[in-house]
Symmetry: C2
Subunit: 206 residues, 2 copies
Amino acid sequence: MLTFYYVPHTCALATHIALEEAGADYTGLRMNFADEDQKQPDYLAINPKARVPSLVTERGILTETPAILIYLCQLYPAANMAPLDDPFALAQVQSFNAYLCSTVHVAHAHRMRGHRWTDDPDAQAAMRAFVPQSVGEGFQMIEDTMLQGPWVMGADCTVCDFYLFTLAQWLDGDGVDITTLPKIHDHFKRMAERPSVARALAQEFA
Amino acid sequence: MLTFYYVPHTCALATHIALEEAGADYTGLRMNFADEDQKQPDYLAINPKARVPSLVTERGILTETPAILIYLCQLYPAANMAPLDDPFALAQVQSFNAYLCSTVHVAHAHRMRGHRWTDDPDAQAAMRAFVPQSVGEGFQMIEDTMLQGPWVMGADCTVCDFYLFTLAQWLDGDGVDITTLPKIHDHFKRMAERPSVARALAQEFA
């Protein structure tokens, strides 16, 4: 049994989709940033970084999306969510996930989490104004050089697809028109049709 | 045979240390940001993100430090650089590496790469001024909640240690006094004594 802590509209959705794709036995616990659930002592004992997702397992607690995603691939190999038996192909999956977490998600975070990098309101506003450009460049790089098609890694749907879909949901709010990114737009529509995605979203917004 | 592209003073050092620890058969190719080597067409054909590290293998090219590090662990299992046979322990390694790439390295990058997130010089200056706080908080989190000791993951030295050492080298320039972080300071000194680190640094600054 796994316990999964998440907040709607966050990168935790990628883990949520993976749990659904795997048919995992898990309990999802929804939190709310508006109430600062993530800063309460009970949650800080689980994740002192005050972020989501967190996954509580029989062995202990895991945080950080790229780590949790590969762990779920290993825990549920029958779900075939990553090329676990091919170190090079797995490294390509990891490279993609690392780009999302360290570049694309970070660019997005400058819209609403500028306080992480400055306490100057004017500078935070300047960061916000730049988000369409920085997020747009990150997705353009994916469009032009990474998304093999039909799925990110080619023929097989992997955790990269769950993660890309999760961040692509933010494009409209980030001021990037997804229709200017035809491969990503097509990918987004196909991901949205997966039953696992519908189930994860239904839980998050129930 | 592997070909490794790096720039001194960057996160590529973590990969360089791993290559040395593994006794890998590789050629290191030094580049220079001052000459904008990373933006030349020959290099963009290798890594369109115009960043380092890049690792050229017989199967293809890999980028992004967390991905390359785990790949090297798998390519050289005898070097015992990660707990490959224990998915949960491996996920802990990956979680640590993800924190470094998505939070700690990103905080540091606001000192000299603010142009990634705003074109406003005043906002870039505000970001620079905040780096001691944001980088300091990231390292304090590692000091308080992650570094098990003597190595990051406990008894065994892993790629997490190479990566932490690499980013800890930047603390002085980031305005953070490493002596205020006793576990990280002790770790830094022990890492600096490893022959692999000496060899990697000697090559980078030869």
